[in-house]
C-alpha cells in the first residue's frame, strides 16, 4: 500500500524538481516525489497529512561521528555550550569552573556507593579565565571517590587527587610532558594523551575501550540521531569484534531502531593483510541498517594536540612536528589491496603533510590497480590547500571536512596552533567545491554535538566561538551546505544511489523540520528545529523517541 505524505515543502536535492509538495512511499522506499495529482498515477494510496505544516528534506547523513556518544551520555555533561541528551533534556552550558564543580556536586550526591567513580565529559577549560582545572578544584567535589572528566577535544583528562592516588600517580618524581606538575611537585590533575590518561581513566570510570559502542549506548545514540534529523550515521573507527558485530546487527535490526549505521574497521592493531581479510568477512555480514565493509585509516594526530603532521613552516607556536599513526608502506599496502578488492578507505588526516602522504600513496596504488570508482575519502583534512584540492580532484577523491572546528576551536587555531593565515583556510569547503571535489561536512560527535544543521551553519558562516568570521572566502552557500549534509555525505559513503535525495527508488528517509532551512536567514540555520525523522518509511518523532 502506498502512503502519500503532504508537506508544506519538500526539498528533494533532485535538480529536476528541487521542491515538491508530496512524496509517495511504499515498502520503505520512495515511489515518487511531485504533486498529489502526479503521484496518484501510481494507483491506490493513503494520504497522510501529519506533515502538512512541516518541511521535509532528505534524511540527514552524518559522515563522520562515533556512536560511542550514546555511551558518553551516561557520564556527567560538563561542556561550555548547551547540549541536548538522548532523552531530549538540554543540559545548560557551564560558564565557569565553579559551575562545573556545582554540577559535579549535584551528581555526586546521587551516587550511593561511596567507592563509585564520578565520570564527566566535554569540559573545555580554554573558555575559562585560568584555562585549567586542577585536582584541588575537583577535590572540592570529593576526596574519597575518584573523579575524571574527559575534555571536549578527547585529548586531555582532568582528575581529582583520589583518582591520581588510585593509579599511583600522586607522587613526586614524575617526569612526563603529559603530566604537568604543581609547585608541590605533584601532578596538577591534568593528563594529556591516551597513554597517560588510560591508567587513571580506568579508575575514574571510563571503560577500557572508549571508542567501542555498547548496546544501551547504541540505542541512545539512535535517539540523538532522530533529534538531529539524521537517518544514516557512521561509526567511523571500530575494532568490530565478532561480539560487537553480532550485537550491532541485532540491535539495529529491531523494528523501532531508527537509523542506518555504517561502521568502519579501524586499521590499528592488525597488519594490512589481516585488515583486508577481516573487512572482506565484515562486508558479507552487512545488513541494511548495520553497514560494514569499509576501512578507516588514521594517518596522523590532531592539530590542537600538536600531533598532526605539518608541512613547513609547521606549528605557529613552534611545537615540533606531530606523529604518524601508520607507516607509509602500510598505507600503501592497505590502499593497494583495498583497490584490488573494491573496499572503500576513509583516511583521517589533519596536517597538510599527512594529506600529501595520502595523495602520493593513492596515486601510486592507483597505478597498480586503476579504477575511477573508489571514492577514497579524506576525513577532516583540515589543512588541505589549493594545490592539494586540485590533486584530490584529479584522483577522484572526496573530502569530509570538520566544519564544526571553526566554531569550537577556530580561535585556538588562529592564536596558537597554525596562526591566522592558515586558520582562515582551514576546512576550506569553498575551495573544495570550486575544484569539483565531492564534499561532506561533519561533527565528529561526541567531540562536537551531532547536528548536521549546526554543522551546515558552521560551514556557511565560519563564525568562531568568540564571534569572529574566520575565512570569509571559504564560506559556502546554504544550498551547498544542505547538499553536503545529504547527498554530499551519501556520496562519500558510496550510498548516493540509495539515499541522500528524495526521488523515486531511494529509501524513504526524511528529516522532518519545523522550519524551512532555505528560507531562514543563513545565520539562523542552526536554529531550525527538528520534529523527527522518517527512516525507511517508518516515522520517528523526537518527542516520543
Amino acid at each position: 500500500m502506498t502512503t502519500i505524505y503532504s508537506a508544506k515543502k519538500i526539498i528533494t536535492m533532485n535538480p529536476t524538481r528541487p521542491t515538491v509538495s508530496h512524496v509517495a512511499v511504499r515498502d520503505g522506499r520512495i515511489v515518487g516525489a511531485g504533486s498529489l495529482t502526479e503521484l496518484a498515477g501510481f494507483g491506490d494510496y493513503t494520504l497522510d497529512e501529519r506533515f502538512t505544516d512541516k518541511v521535509l528534506m532528505p534524511g540527514l547523513v552524518e559522515g563522520h561521528c562515533h556512536t560511542v556518544e550514546g555511551k558518553w551520555w551516561r557520564y556527567v555533561y560538563c561542556g561550555f555550550h548547551d547540549r541536548m541528551d538522548p532523552h531530549g533534556k538540554v543540559w545548560s552550558g557551564l560558564a565557569s569552573i565553579d559551575q562545573v564543580i556545582e554540577r559535579l556536586m549535584e551528581q555526586e550526591v546521587t551516587l550511593v556507593d561511596p567507592a563509585e567513580p564520578l565520570t564527566g565529559w566535554a569540559i573545555d577549560p580554554i573558555y575559562y579565565s585560568d584555562r585549567k582545572i586542577t585536582r584541588q578544584q575537583l577535590d572540592r567535589v570529593s576526596t574519597t571517590r575518584p573523579i575524571g572528566i574527559m575534555h571536549a577535544s578527547g585529548h586531555i583528562m582532568s582528575v581529582n587527587s583520589k583518582a591520581l592516588e588510585m593509579a599511583d600517580y600522586l607522587r613526586t618524581g614524575i617526569e612526563h610532558e603529559g603530566v604537568p606538575l604543581g609547585d608541590d611537585g605533584l601532578p596538577t590533575g591534568e593528563l594529556k594523551g591516551p597513554d597517560v590518561m588510560r591508567p587513571v581513566g580506568q579508575k575514574a570510570g571510563f571503560s577500557d575501550n572508549m571508542l567501542e559502542f555498547d548496546e544501551p549506548g547504541l540505542i541512545d545514540f539512535a535517539r540523538l540521531c532522530v533529534r538531529a534529523g539524521v537517518t544514516t550515521a557512521t561509526d567511523l573507527a571500530a575494532e568490530l569484534s565478532e561480539a560487537t558485530v553480532d550485537m550491532g546487527i541485532r540491535v539495529t535490526d529491531a523494528d523501532n531502531f531508527p537509523v542506518r549505521i555504517m561502521s568502519l574497521r579501524f586499521h590499528h592493531g592488525v597488519t594490512p593483510n589481516e585488515l583486508i581479510e577481516h573487512v572482506k568477512i565484515l562486508r558479507e555480514q552487512s545488513t541494511d541498517r548495520f553497514r560494514l565493509g569499509k576501512i578507516k585509516v588514521v594517518a596522523d594526530g590532531s592539530i590542537q594536540g600538536f600531533s598532526a603532521r605539518m608541512n613547513w613552516p609547521g606549528y605557529f607556536n613552534g611545537a615540533p612536528n606531530g606523529l604518524w599513526y601508520i607507516a607509509p608502506e602500510q598505507m600503501l599496502a592497505i590502499y593497494e589491496m583495498a583497490l584490488e578488492f573494491d573496499i572503500q578507505v576513509h583516511t583521517h588526516t589533519n596536517g597538510d603533510e599527512a594529506t600529501d602522504l595520502v595523495l602520493e600513496t593513492l596515486e601510486a596504488a592507483l597505478k597498480k590497480h586503476p579504477t575511477n570508482h573508489h571514492r577514497f575519502t579524506i576525513q577532516h583534512g583540515q589543512l588541505i590547500n589549493g594545490a592539494q584540492y586540485r590533486r584530490l580532484a584529479k584522483l577522484n577523491m572526496c573530502v569530509n571536512h570538520f566544519a564544526n572546528h571553526h566554531f569550537y576551536w577556530g580561535d585556538e587555531h588562529y592564536n596558537l596552533t597554525v596562526g591566522p593565515e592558515r586558520a582562515e583556510r582551514m576546512n576550506a569547503c569553498r575551495t573544495a567545491l570550486d575544484n569539483g571535489v565531492p564534499l561532506a561536512i561533519h561533527s565528529d560527535a561526541p567531540i562536537t554535538p551531532l547536528s548536521p544543521l549546526f554543522t551546515a551553519w558552521c560551514a556557511v558562516n565560519r563564525i568562531t566561538s568568540s564571534g569572529r568570521v574566520q575565512g570569509e572566502h571559504e564560506k559556502i552557500t546554504v544550498d551547498e551546505a544542505l547538499y553536503a549534509i545529504t547527498l554530499g555525505a551519501a556520496y562519500t559513503l558510496d550510498l548516493d544511489r540509495e539515499i541522500g535525495s528524495i526521488e523515486a527508488g531511494k529509501h524513504a528517509d526524511f528529516a522532518v523540520l519545523e522550519d524551512d532551512p532555505t528560507a531562514v536567514a543563513a545565520d539562523k540555520l542552526k536554529d531550525v528545529s527538528v520534529w523527527g525523522t522518517v527512516q525507511a518509511g517508518r516515522v520517528f518523532s523526537a518527542s516520543d523517541i
Binding site: 612526563h176 597517560v196 577500557d208 592493531g269 593483510n273 608502506e329 602500510q330 603533510e353
Partner: protein, 327 residues
C-alpha cells in the same frame, strides 16, 4: 609491593628486524620467562612448535614465555601481565614501526610496577642513511634512533666492505650519544638484553663469561647460514668481570659504565656504595640505574663489550677504579 618488573623497549622502523630480534630472544630464553608485547600477531613468525596455546590476545610458548598483542592499548596489556598466574622475569615491548620508543618509555615511567631497563632501536644498515632523511618518515626514524640507549646496526651481511665502512662512519658522525652493536639477522648476545638465570648471584663468573661469548657465536651459527662474512660483520660479545671490594659512589660508577667511551654495551651487578649499603647497578647502553640490592648478593659486576680488545684493566682505568688500589 614486589620489585618492579624489568622492561626493554625494542624500537625501529618497519623492516629493521624487530620481530626477528624478538624471535631470537624467545629461542634463547633458556628458562627465563620472557613476556613479549607486540603490536599485532600478524608478522611474528613464531616457530609453531614453540606455541603451547592461545587465549585471546595472549600466546603461551614452551619454556614459560608468553607473547601478547596490545593493539593500541599498551597500558591495558601491561595490566594484564600483572594478572597472570606467574609474573614474567623480563618484559619486551615491541614498538610499532612509527612509534617513538622514548615516548613509550616515558609512559612506562608512570607505572611503578615496571622499570625501564633500556631502549634498543634497530637500524637497517642497508638503508639507514637514506631512510633517516626520507620524505615523510625521516624525522620519525631519526627520533627513534635518538631515543635509543643501544642501537643494533642490523643486516650488515648485506653490505660490501666499502659500504660497511661508510655506514659505520655515518653512525659515528650522527649518533654519538649511544653505543651500537653490529648485527646480522638481528642476532645479538641475549645477555645484553636480559639476565640469564645463572648470573643472578654472579658466582660462576669465569665460566659464565666464557659461555656468554661462546653462546653469542653459537647464536649466529644456529640462526643463519653462517658464512665467514657474518663473523666479520657481527659483533662478538665479550664478558668482563669487575670485582670492586671497596666502597665507591655507585651513581658515579654507573654513569661511567654507561659512557660510550668506556666501550660497554651492558653492565649488571652489585657494588658496595659509599654509605656501605649494597647497590644494584644496571646499564644498558647509555642508560643506567642504581637501586638497593636484594638481600643475599655479593659484590661484583658483569660487563659486556663488543670490542674484543677491551680488558678489565681498561674499564677500571676509565672508571678511575685503579685509584682505589688493588681489589
Amino acid at each position: 609491593m614486589s620489585a618492579a618488573l624489568p622492561v626493554t623497549i625494542i624500537g625501529g622502523y618497519l623492516g629493521s628486524g624487530k620481530t626477528t630480534l624478538i624471535n631470537h630472544l624467545l629461542r634463547h630464553a633458556n628458562g627465563v620467562r620472557l613476556a613479549v608485547l607486540i603490536n599485532d600477531f600478524g608478522e611474528l613468525p613464531i616457530d609453531a612448535e614453540l606455541i603451547e596455546g592461545q587465549e585471546g590476545n595472549v600466546i603461551s610458548l614452551s619454556g614459560g614465555c608468553i607473547c601478547c598483542s596490545y593493539g593500541d592499548d599498551l597500558s591495558y596489556a601491561l595490566q594484564q601481565l600483572l594478572e597472570q598466574e606467574s609474573l614474567p622475569d623480563h618484559i619486551f615491548i615491541e614498538a610499532s614501526g612509527v612509534a617513538l620508543p622514548g615516548a613509550i618509555g616515558k609512559s612506562l615511567s608512570l607505572l611503578r610496577a615496571f622499570k625501564l631497563e633500556g631502549i634498543v632501536v634497530l637500524a637497517d644498515a642497508t638503508s639507514i642513511e637514506t631512510s633517516s632523511t626520507a620524505k615523510y618518515i625521516g624525522d620519525t626514524i631519526a627520533r627513534q634512533l635518538s631515543d635509543a640507549d643501544l642501537i643494533v646496526l642490523n643486516k650488515l651481511d648485506l653490505l660490501s666492505n666499502l659500504q660497511l665502512e661508510a655506514v659505520r662512519g655515518w653512525m659515528e658522525a650522527h649518533y654519538t650519544h649511544s653505543p651500537w652493536v653490529d648485527s646480522v639477522f638481528s642476532t645479538i648476545d641475549p645477555e645484553v638484553l636480559f639476565e640469564m638465570k645463572r648470573d643472578i648471584n654472579l658466582h660462576a663468573s669465569a665460566s659464565a663469561s666464557a659461555s656468554a661469548s661462546a653462546s653469542a657465536v653459537q647464536c649466529i651459527k644456529s640462526d643463519t647460514t653462517a658464512t665467514s662474512h657474518h663473523h666479520e660483520v657481527a659483533s662478538l660479545f665479550k664478558s668482563i668481570r669487575l670485582d670492586i671490594n671497596k666502597a665507591i659512589d655507585a651513581d658515579t660508577l654507573a654513569a661511567q659504565l654507561a659512557d660510550k667511551r668506556c666501550g660497554l654495551v651492558r653492565a649488571k651487578g652489585f657494588v658496595r656504595h659509599a654509605d656501605k649499603s649494597l647497590k644494584t647497578i644496571q646499564v644498558v647502553g647509555r642508560r643506567w640505574s642504581v637501586t638497593d640490592a636484594p638481600d643475599g648478593v655479593s659484590t661484583g659486576l658483569v660487563c659486556i663489550a663488543t670490542d674484543g680488545n677491551l680488558s678489565e684493566a681498561r674499564v677500571r682505568a676509565f672508571c678511575g677504579l685503579d685509584k682505589l688500589g688493588p681489589a
